[in-house]
Amino acid sequence: MSSFVVSEALATGFKEGFKAGIIWLVLIAYLSKHDRSSLIRSFHAAVLTVLMATPLFLVYYSGPPAKDAIRNFISFSFSLLLILSAASLYHASGIKPDGPLDRSDSKAFLMNRFILPPLIFFLTVAFFLPDMLGSGSFIKDLAAIKESGRSTYISALAGFASGYLLWSIIYRTLRPLWIGGFFDIPQIFLFLSVTKLLGGGTKGLAEMTLIPSVQRGFMKFSHDFIHQTFVFLMVPDHQLLKTTTWNFIGFFFGPNIAGFAALAGILFFPLLFLYYRLFRPLPDPLAETGAERRKVKSGLLFDRRKKALPVMLFVLLVLGSWFSESGESLSKLYIPKPKPVVEDKGLILIPLKDPSMDIKDGRLHKFALQHNNQEIRLLVINKTGGLSVCLDACEICPPEGYGQRDSNVVCVYCNTPIPVDTLGQAGGCNPIPLSFEQDEQFIKIGLKELLKKREFIPTGAAGEKAG
């Protein structure tokens, strides 16, 4: 047990150090190519700041809400990177012709002194802080398992140092400054995104990468967006459209289609960039002789190809990891039979454990309450950060309830996958969340709460409420 804890801490620390090291290497190569090596100081300062801020934060905050916040923070910083990559790719693709470049000395001075250092500092902090907080809180949990937490922290630090040193040694022995030639601002952002995507997981060896959670996030986003649009467009609703239309629309929300939409969203700007950089002709540069013109042009073309390479690698990497992670998403839908529960003095009690089940096993559990001759179904599932309790219905579809497929609950009616970790959010296709209390033995839900939330369920035929 203890050696497991130590090696987990070591691996987690190593991963963070490795990330910091490889980013440092790319950055120093890029900066020295542009005669701005001194800016690397801002990067170091930011990494140090994050290293010091992480323990402080972890001392003063703890518990599941902090973990949720950290997860959101990580997704936020990843989204920020994707947006920055997209914007800079668009800018660099050459769709928009470049304006005249102001390369005056005073402007360069301003950039080097007052704009770039804080910018690099801010971006570095925005990159590392969420990851370090995630890994840090994981290590804190590890330390709590073991009698002496100190060795856990020390091995995590040792891991960080060795991950970082690895790249430092590579830098000193090989001096691979030529890699700077492959990078411009967009390539750097893509590189950072990939680093975060592949190494942003926060649960040690069990979760090295962000890919599954990013997939889920994107699927949910694209699904909600499309679904809500359809709901909006179907006003006023028509009897004939109902079931068939929903079935048709549901096809788009299947994990594959939504996954494709998400993938397309990530790859759109890189592909646009590649198209413009590789397949659109380069305008002839001005030159006195044909030979000179060709020379400048071939230099530009070579540079274009060189800088397209990281973007191509990004596309391949995202495609590869995406499909390798989503291979099993077509498994069968699991729909448990609801277990009866009763109401007592205005409270519904659901046991956390009984001989036939453990509610925290990660599977979907359903319960049914008879109230005034009507059945009200509930679902309970364990997600990151605790249990989630909802009505087995959403605000849009007819109340046929949910099944489970992998880490999604899926609407039986419209086939919409909803990532388990997003349960508890109200609205749209999410199962309607219930507030509840929980002790050692039971989940307690107020009947009033239940009846109040039931109002949101569309009754009878499809779409009535939605319309």
């Binding site: 002789t289 044909g290 030979a291 060709r294």
Partner: protein
């Protein structure tokens, strides 16, 4: 300092002294012809200027670069960007047509450009022969392809060793008139080796070699 500065160059082979101390300065844009009997060292001197061979002693400085100090890569780049060559034998690639032969030179310099290559062949009067292979061209036409190829990368120096050696008088005149026209337009420097007094008249300066030495160096004002 002149554009080309040959300083006291000696070239010895195992059994022969090809050059026995040659010094020569050539101004930028000048057309200089080297004449002299067979074996007097004309080709040897030209090859040294083109960096195709290195001297046993002395130095060759072109455009302030001592070309013997360049390493192999540096010499190749220097030659690619500054020099064009024409020889007695055309050395065209037999299975490529005229246009492709010129484009190949563009490619080795930077990148090929078909439009520019066909314009260059147009300027040497071959716009009707773009797709002909060397074997389908006359000797004079082949030599004109060579001129287009030698000049396609806008060299500052054109080195020509008996460029008309295989041609009759009529074709020789045509080639020389073409060179004269291009020289007036583009102002590159020409060093041309010949043993033909008719050809030697076309330049601005004639250097006569004998037995590995310069015997006579005279300016003529034909151009």
């Amino acid at each position: 300092m002149p554009f080309i500065d040959v300083d006291n160059v000696i070239k010895e082979y195992d059994n022969a002294h090809a050059l026995r101390g040659v010094s020569l300065g050539i101004e930028k844009g000048q057309w200089l012809n080297i004449v002299g009997p067979s074996g007097s060292g004309k080709s040897t001197l030209l090859n040294l200027m083109g960096g195709l061979d290195s001297p046993s002693a002395g130095s060759v400085v072109i455009d302030e670069t001592d070309i013997n100090r360049l390493n192999e890569d540096g010499m190749a780049r220097f030659r690619r960007e500054k020099m064009g060559f024409i020889f007695q034998q055309s050395h065209l690639i037999p299975y490529l047509n005229a246009l492709e032969n010129v484009m190949l030179a563009q490619y080795f310099h930077s990148m090929s450009d078909e439009k520019e290559a066909s314009e260059a062949l147009g300027r040497v009067g071959l716009s009707q022969r773009l797709r002909h292979r060397p074997s389908q061209l006359s000797g004079g036409e082949q030599q004109r392809v060579c001129i287009a190829r030698a000049l396609i990368n806008s060299p500052e120096l054109l080195l020509a060793d008996e460029p008309t050696g295989n041609l009759d008088r009529e074709n020789t005149r045509m080639i020389l008139e073409l060179l004269k026209k291009l020289h007036e337009e583009e102002h590159f420097t020409i060093v041309l080796v010949t043993h033909d007094p008719f050809v030697a008249q076309w330049g601005q300066r004639i250097v006569t070699m004998e037995d590995g030495k310069i015997r006579c160096d005279e300016l003529v004002c034909r151009l």
